[in-house]
C-alpha cells in the first residue's frame, strides 16, 4: 500500500510529467522548432548551474544570477514589510492616520507596478535600483491592505472579553489586535512575497547586468531559447521554495488558526 503522503506526491507529479512528455514528443527531432526539447533545456540548465557542457559566457553563472535576484526580492520585500506593517496597523487603528493617508494610498494603488517602471528608470537610473524599487512597490500594497484589513476586522467580542478580564486599553493592541490580525497579516506577507517574484523579472529586464530576469531577456536577444526556459524554470522553483518556506513558518505561528494550522 502507498501511504497517503506518497499518493499525494504521486498525484501532484502526474500533470508535470504528462506535460513534459507532451513537450518532448512535440519538439524532439523536429528540425525547425521554436521551442527546444526538454532534454536540451535540461542540459542547458546543468551547464548554467555547474558548467562543463558548453563552457561559454553563461556556464556556471546561475548561482550569481539567482543570488542577485533573491537578494533584490528579499531586500525589496523586507523593506516593504518594514514600512507596510506599521503603516497598516496605524491606518487600521488610528482614525486620524486613516483619514490622512488612506485616500492617497487608495488612489495610488490602481497604478500597476509595471507602469511605475519608466518613472523608476528616470529617477533611479537603469540598473538594479529600479528593480529593487519595483519589488518594494509590488510587495508593499498586498502587505498594507491585508494588515489594515486584519487589524480592522478583529471581532468586537474579543475587546469586550479582554476588557472584562482586566486588560488595560493600552495593552489591547498587543494582547488582542495583533494576534487576532496575524492570519491576515500573514496572508499579506505571502501575497507580497509572491508578487515580489513576479515583479523582479520585469525589473531586471531593463538593462540590469545580473539577475534571472536579466539573463532570460539577454538570452532571448541571442536566440538562446534553452537559457530563456532554464531561467523560467529556476524562477519558478525559487518562487515555489520561498512560498513553501513562508507557509511552513505560517503553520508554526498560526497553529491555532483553523485556516492555517
Amino acid at each position: 500500500m502507498i501511504s497517503g503522503r506518497g499518493r499525494a506526491i504521486g498525484l501532484s507529479l502526474a500533470a508535470p510529467l504528462l506535460f513534459l512528455a507532451f513537450w518532448h514528443l512535440s519538439t524532439a527531432g523536429q528540425p525547425f522548432s521554436l521551442i527546444p526539447p526538454p532534454l536540451e533545456v535540461g542540459r542547458q540548465l546543468w551547464d548554467l548551474t555547474f558548467g562543463g557542457v558548453w563552457d561559454d559566457l553563461y556556464s556556471a553563472t546561475l548561482l550569481e544570477h539567482a543570488l542577485a535576484s533573491v537578494g533584490r526580492v528579499y531586500g525589496g520585500f523586507l523593506l516593504a514589510a518594514a514600512l507596510a506593517l506599521p503603516l497598516g496597523m496605524l491606518i487600521g487603528r488610528v482614525a486620524l492616520v486613516r483619514s490622512l493617508l488612506d485616500p492617497t494610498l487608495q488612489l495610488l494603488r490602481p497604478i500597476p507596478v509595471t507602469a511605475w517602471l519608466p518613472l523608476a528608470m528616470i529617477v533611479f537610473g537603469i540598473g538594479p535600483r529600479s528593480a529593487f524599487f519595483l519589488v518594494f512597490l509590488g510587495a508593499f500594497y498586498p502587505i498594507l491592505v491585508n494588515t489594515v484589513f486584519g487589524v480592522r476586522s478583529v471581532e468586537g467580542r474579543l475587546f469586550e472579553a479582554a476588557a472584562m478580564l482586566g486588560v488595560s486599553p493600552s495593552a489591547v493592541f498587543w494582547k488582542v489586535v495583533l494576534p487576532a490580525a496575524l492570519p491576515s497579516i500573514f496572508t499579506g506577507l505571502r501575497l507580497g512575497l509572491g508578487f515580489a517574484w513576479v515583479v523582479i523579472v520585469v525589473g531586471e529586464m531593463t538593462g540590469v547586468q545580473t539577475g534571472l530576469g536579466a539573463i532570460i531577456m539577454e538570452a532571448r536577444q541571442l536566440s538562446r531559447t534553452e537559457i530563456v526556459i532554464s531561467g523560467m524554470v529556476v524562477i519558478g522553483l525559487l518562487g515555489f521554495l520561498s512560498d513553501a518556506l513562508v507557509q511552513a513558518l505560517g503553520r508554526r505561528l498560526l497553529r491555532w488558526s483553523p485556516q492555517h494550522g
Binding site: 474579543l158 476588557a163 472584562m164 478580564l165 483553523p258 494550522g261
Partner: protein, 259 residues
Amino acid sequence: MADGMMTQAALNILDISGVTKCFSFNGEPILALEGANLAVRKGEFVCLIGPSGCGKSTLLRMIAGFETPSEGRLSMWGAPVSGPGPDRGMVFQDYGLFPWLSVARNVGFGPAARGRPRAEVEATIKRFVDMVGLTRFADAYPHQLSGGMKQRVAIARVLANEAEVVLMDEPFGALDAMTRENLQRELLEIWERTRLTVLFVTHAIEEAILLADRIVVMSPGPGRIVADELVSLPRPRDPTDPEFNALRRRFSALLGSHH
C-alpha cells in the same frame, strides 16, 4: 476593620436603581430598559428571564460596564460601575475565547494580563482547568473544542480571574440539550463550591427554575422588570417534580400576562 465588615455585610454586592437605557436606532430613540431596580446580595444566583427585547441583556451589559445607563445608578459594593473590570466576569453566548491561545492560556489570560506572578498563574490555570474537567484538553486550541467545552473554558477563565460576580448572557443557548443539562449541573456544583454571585440571563423558564435562588421577570416594549420572586425549591431540583411544574406555570403566566 470591624466597621468595614459591618458596611460590607449591610451592602448589596450589586445595586441597580432607576436604570434606564435609551438607544438610538436610525435616529429614532428606542427605550431598551426603563426604571430598573434590583439589589443583589453576595452569593445569590439570580436569573433574568424574559422574551427578546425585554432589556435583560442590556441590563447585564450595563452591569458588566460595556454600556452606560442613560439614567439611574448602578453600583457594586456601593461604588459606581464606570466600565468593565475583572471583578465582574462575563460569559458570552458565543464564548469570546481568544482563538490564538490554548485552553490553558485562555484560562490564565486574566491573571497574566493583570501581572500575577508566573507560578501563581500556572497554579490558577491548573486549578480551574481541572475544575471544569478539561485537564486533557489544556493544550488544545478553541477551534478544536465542542461548544460545550468552549463554554467550560469561558467559565473557567472568569473564575480564574477572581471575578466576584459572574454575568452569564444566555450561556447555554447555543448548545444541544444534553450538553446544556451537563453544564447546568456543573455550573451549580461550581456555584455551590465557590458561592459566587451569579446573574444569569435566559429566555428558558425551566432553566431559570432549575438554577436560580431568585428569578427576575422582564417584559418588552419598553423593557422593564415586572416580577422578582424567590425560588425556594430544595436542590437538586427535579423538573418532573409537581412543585417544579407549578412554578413553571406561575412564571409562564407572569411572562405571558405582560406580552
